[in-house]
Subunit: 91 residues, 2 copies
């Protein structure tokens, strides 16, 4: 993972709403629907859409279309890669 990617993932994680979205996976387990995120956050739909886009662009979330709904799964692999980079910082 190059530095540009580390920067992008870090930026995706540097917002309270986006951290809350990721943590919601601990409850909902396997997947989370776009509509659920809309209900969960105290933001308008375009704002939620913006935050989800940041997470998808950073590849922390993988989107899957289901008819007119949108389902997200957590990308555990990229989280592992990011954690590995941080671990390397510690000499």
């Amino acid at each position: 993972m190059d530095n540009k990617k580390i920067e992008k993932i870090s930026r995706a994680l540097s917002d309270a709403n986006r951290i809350a979205i990721l943590q919601e996976f601990k409850k909902k387990k396997d997947c989370l629907y776009c509509a659920e995120v809309n209900d969960m956050l105290d933001l308008t739909q375009p704002s939620v859409s913006h935050h989800l886009k940041q997470l998808v662009d950073a590849e922390l979330l993988l989107p899957q279309k289901e008819g007119r709904n949108l389902k997200y799964v957590l990308n555990q692999q990229i989280l592992d890669d990011y954690i590995a980079c941080l671990t390397e910082l510690k000499d």
Copy 2:
């Protein structure tokens, strides 16, 4: 570690110059001097000072005064705590 702290650390990590500073510890090992960071980055002294402040405010770096020089050590504990929070996201 609460979400405000995760947010702050993530933001500190979301900049190419600051990532480069942290990675420099892998070379210089134990500690890094402020002056070394000034030499290393293609930025003016006030800008470097700003970036170092972000890292210190996030507690990723611990500053130690040595006369008129300033020495930084990496705060491995907070990195570990941050990594632990990210690991928890993975169910």
